[in-house]
Amino acid sequence: MANFARPIRVKHMAFVLALLVFASAPLVTAQVGYSQRAKEIGTHLKCMCRGCDMSAGLCAHPGGSFSGPCDTAKAMLKEVDQHLGKGESEQQIIDAFVSEYGTVVYVEPPKRGFGLVAWLMPVFYIVVGLGILVFVVRKWALRPSTLTHAPAGHAAAAIDPNDPLARARAQAARETED
């Protein structure tokens, strides 16, 4: 029918710090066939089974007959262990997976190349937004404070016949009721 993808499980606060908590509690036993370290690195690699959107380290494969790491995730974690055996660093391992599976294996975009764009976007929005805000605020603050505000929606009291907005306001008040 469809792909029942399921995303990577969430860490709402400080993902990295949460991982430290994980690390300090080595709970997953060796019987699963991969090391705790492989599982940690696996949280930075997307499970390539194409049936879930989770990371290999946290794959729970909803809808499958086994809600644990699926076979693909397990194979990936074992592969991580092989790399670890060769003494590779986390970054080297991730790079090895990227050359094997392509950029889809990333869980978060890399902070280089086109992936950097993803990280810069939110910063860009904040900067531009703040810029616009400061510009607008300055413009507004410079306005003479003699401009009095008529209470919204009830401005029918004194209509200046030459002001089209006041006329429209009076008309709107006539034609509608709250």
Binding site: M1, N3, F4, H12, M13, V32, F66, V107, V136, E175
Partner: protein, 687 residues
């Protein structure tokens, strides 16, 4: 019945087209009979859509397996409860359901305002009919739910064909929340059509910018409340059913539901700028336009399968229809705006940077940045594929890193904003208002660290929660003290009276408090731990203070599924607390046959979340996956407060007359207090 449903759907389309075209003529000619007949066509459209939905439900209930939709999403043994939900289990049904919920709003608006707002309503009617035409086009001609099964018979002729049983409902949807989560979320999505229609109508009718705000205030709150509730119920469903220990995964469809919520929330705040100060009229119009467009985009992302997601049940051709509709709506909005923007002239003016006005500006900035950041993150994989031919995935860690700072900044403003005065806040009042909240906030942060929540970001979040809570308490306390002094009521009664006199303001504070609780729950996620183990009977698994002992397993047979159930004893220290029964269900008649039923022992402190993952493929021993998730319950409690707050805000303000007369008597009796009484009326309606 299928012909009946199909025909009423077609007739609804015809009526909507009449309401649209006739409505345009009615606006031009102002002919009273034409205005009336187009309004009635609008009502007829809604009624016909209701009939058609009831027909589809009837077909589902009567197990009519000659219908393609019934075969795909139901089966004989499916319980009645879930046959209701089968209506929105598939593409065709959920689009019809969209039309239905939209019709509930449309018919309400058309009936409530049938004798009111005579000049504006024809415009509103035309816009609503326009939106309905789009969805009815999909319902009728693209994704018609009333298709029958057919097969080529021996004679080589296409003949109707009936299956013995259906494929059944997707097991992931066979959970109570799935019966209430989609209706809530859809009610949110569709509800924003109403403020959109009024905003656009007022612009087309050349009404000054403030008019539509007054008319749609409550409609917007209703839509917002449904949207909030829908999002939270969806999170709870993900938590309780998917068995991955989390509730929010930044899945594209989850994100899609968050987008209009973010702009809608920004809008609920910025309307106050317009009401109180006549500012930001252009901004508000565009906020509501964007919210509506994001609702349509959300439906599009959910339904088109353009991004892979748990919810993208079907990939189909409707994508181009949605893109077309979004572009057309944008074009109409832009043209209307440039033609009539003179009528949105605002009295924008700012006296001080430290004022309620500027806090609203920052609030809107943050909500907008949050919205655009989520949107661009969600679409980034698509962009990266366009530009580099390589799809770069963007997952939860990215969104968490980006959104946590924005979320905390918004939480900070939640506390600051209400304490700042309109126009200008003096240094003295800053000291008076912020002293205690800052103290309470710092103490909350320190208390969290002492209690063992040792994570810098979380501790900061707890501190902000304490800060915001205290500002809310102070707001209630101050107001209650004034009323209590004047009327002699107890403080509690006075606080109630206070809330009833200005429901929107104090309802807003209650919603803020709900958000504080939600943030406490989210901050707990930094301390999640888990353990997984293949367990034989009698084996135990330790997780935090708990020890889980596998006692036994059994099999449960239901009409629609067979469940394997593990019975797990939970010990804390050496004391038995309870038994948990996590299940693995094997459903009938579906390819995606398995479902998990998580067992959760939930307390305010933490959730012990136990999943029976299934038999270990190699050793054939049951695997238990347990999570310890602190503070999750606070999220759901926060949701309850959000709803209570919104309901309070929807109530009409109680007039202060009763109290006023009591106060006047009091004033008469005690000389020197008379000067106080007029303030009672002055305070009313003051946000």
């Amino acid at each position: 019945m299928d012909v009946f449903g199909s025909f009423s759907l077609l007739l609804a389309f015809v009526c909507a087209v009449y309401a649209f075209i006739g409505g345009i003529f009615a606006i031009k000619t102002r002919h009273p009979l034409l205005i009336k007949s187009t309004r009635q066509a609008g009502i007829a459209t809604c009624v016909l859509i209701f009939i058609s939905t009831i027909s589809l439900e009837y077909l589902l209930f009567s197990d009519n397996f000659s219908m393609a939709y019934v075969v795909q999403h139901s089966n004989r043994d499916l319980s009645t409860f879930y046959k209701v939900a089968a209506l929105w289990a598939g593409q065709e049904g959920s689009l019809l359901f969209w039309s239905t919920l939209l019709s509930v709003y449309v018919i309400s608006v058309l009936l409530v305002y049938r004798n009111k707002n005579g000049e504006l309503m024809p415009y509103v009617g035309v816009i609503l009919a326009g939106v309905q035409i789009f969805f009815l086009t999909l319902n009728n001609f693209v994704e018609n739910p009333f298709k029958t099964l057919a097969t080529v018979n021996a004679a080589g002729v296409l003949a109707p064909f009936t299956r013995m049983d259906g494929n059944g409902l997707n097991p992931l949807l066979q959970y109570p929340e799935m019966v209430i989560h989609p209706p809530n979320l859809y009610s949110g999505y569709t509800g924003f059509t109403i403020p959109f229609a009024f905003a656009l109508a007022a612009l087309l009718a050349r009404y000054p910018g403030e008019k539509w705000i007054h008319l749609t205030r409550k409609w917007t709150m209703v839509a917002w409340c449904f949207q909030s509730l829908g999002i939270l119920l969806g999170a709870h469903w993900a938590y309780a059913v998917l068995g991955w220990g989390g509730y929010w995964g930044w899945d594209p469809v989850e994100n899609a539901s968050l987008l209009p919520w973010l702009t809608g929330t920004a809008f609920l705040h910025s309307v106050m700028m317009q009401e109180k100060r006549g500012m930001m009229k252009v901004w508000n119009v565009w906020l509501v336009f964007s919210t509506f467009l994001l609702c349509i985009l959300g439906t599009f992302l959910t339904r088109s399968g353009v991004v892979s997601s748990v919810h993208a049940f079907a990939n189909s051709q409707i994508g181009s229809w949605f893109v077309g509709f979004i572009l057309l709506t944008m074009a109409v909005c832009i043209i209307a705006y440039f033609k009539n923007r003179d009528y949105l002239k605002s009295e924008n003016m700012l006296d001080s940077m430290v004022s309620r006005e500027s806090s609203f500006l920052f609030n809107n900035l943050l909500f907008l940045v949050a919205c655009i950041a989520v949107l661009s993150g969600t679409l980034f994989p698509v962009f990266s594929e366009w530009f580099t031919n390589n799809r770069i995935s963007v997952g939860a860690p990215f969104f968490n890193k980006v959104m946590i700072p924005i979320g905390l900044a918004i939480l900070f403003l939640t506390g600051v904003g209400p304490l700042l005065a309109w126009r200008k806040t003096s240094g003295d009042s800053l000291k008076r208002n912020f002293g205690w909240p800052l103290v309470v906030g710092s103490l909350s942060g320190i208390a969290a660290l002492i209690l063992g929540y040792r994570d810098a970001v979380s501790a900061f979040c707890f501190a902000l929660c304490g800060f915001v809570t205290w500002t809310i308490v102070m707001e209630f306390y101050r107001g209650a003290k004034v009323i209590s002094a004047r009327t002699g009521m107890s403080k509690m009664m006075a606080a109630h009276e206070l809330a009833m006199r200005n429901t929107r303001r104090y309802g807003g504070y209650v919603v803020h408090f709900g958000m504080v609780l939600i943030f406490i729950g989210l901050a707990g996620a930094a301390f999640n731990t888990e353990a997984q183990k293949a367990m034989n009977i009698g084996d135990s698994l330790k997780l935090g203070p708990y020890t889980l002992v596998l006692q036994s397993g059994d099999t449960k047979v239901d009409k629609n599924y067979t469940a394997q159930r593990m019975i797990i004893e939970v010990l804390k220290g050496n004391k038995q607390i309870m038994l948990l029964y996590p299940e693995k269900r094997q459903f009938q008649g579906t390819e995606q046959a398995a479902g998990t039923m998580v067992a959760i022992y939930s307390t305010l402190r933490e959730d012990l979340y136990v999943v029976y993952a299934g038999m270990d493929p190699e050793s054939n021993v049951p695997v238990i996956h347990a999570f310890l998730n602190p503070l999750v319950k606070w999220i759901w409690l926060g949701g309850v407060w959000v709803v209570i707050g919104t309901l309070l805000a929807l109530m009409p303000n109680r007039r202060a007359t009763l109290v006023l007369s009591a106060a006047t008597q009091l004033a008469a009796a005690i000389p020197g207090t008379a000067a106080l009484t007029p303030n009672v009326t002055l305070r009313e309606g003051h946000d």
